[in-house]
Symmetry: C2
């Protein structure tokens, strides 16, 4: 299992990006708007994992709610499942409260989330491993 990314809620992704570029050597950077999640995202690729900066693009974005309630900060971490169906079934069988079933996230990868109340206050995404050109073996 790997940490696919660490997601940080920010007010302005371009400003946050300037901040992160002051401290990180970023191997690769992608910026995209994800309309159905109502966020603009910058994905900063490091050697091992990625940092995702997320800015809400609408007032009813869940990220907007997070920012209003808690301010900027880490929103969730995402774990790359080895076998997403098996790993999600195992988590559920172990009493983890899932936030919805498996669904398609960005890049067509299937995802779901574990409720932070089940996991020591940490909202945790399970995401399917990338289909190819993965750094994982």
């Amino acid at each position: 299992m790997r940490v696919d990314h660490i997601a940080i809620a920010v007010n302005n992704v371009d400003e946050a990006l300037k901040n992160y570029q002051k401290i990180l050597n970023v191997n690769h950077l992608e910026i995209e708007v994800v309309p159905n999640e109502k966020v603009k995202v910058a994905m900063l690729e490091l050697e091992d994992t990625r940092i995702e900066l997320m800015e809400p693009t609408a007032d009813d974005s869940p990220i907007k709610k997070f920012l209003v309630e808690r301010g900027e900060g880490i929103h969730h971490i995402a774990i790359t499942a080895d076998d997403i169906e098996k790993d999600v079934a195992r988590a559920s069988a172990n009493g983890m409260r899932m936030l919805g079933g498996l669904r398609t996230g960005s890049y067509g990868r299937r995802i779901t989330f574990i409720h932070p109340k089940s996991l020591n206050g940490v909202l945790t995404e399970f995401c399917e491993a990338p289909p190819k050109e993965s750094k994982a073996e």
Copy 2:
């Protein structure tokens, strides 16, 4: 640059460990008490990075303060510096507010922190790369 670890403040490290073992395939696990930081720590090694569960061992532990104010959750992320002196100097020169100078953390690695106000609400540790047997090249 790599993400060395993601640190999570928890009330009870043994209970949190049970939770994380319900969802993660952990390659390697170490538990230690760090007296001068007043924490008991479980370090869960994944393929790419590590998750650190931290329980305060004293009422005046900074982790205790965090738990009282915010409850369990992600406390900080740690970035492995390529060259810690250069990377810290660069961050400072770029206006990042550092929390103290370089000092020795666990395993004798030098560390320091960037104030969350400088970095979009995220307390960020810089830590020296492990001296040997590193997965980094």
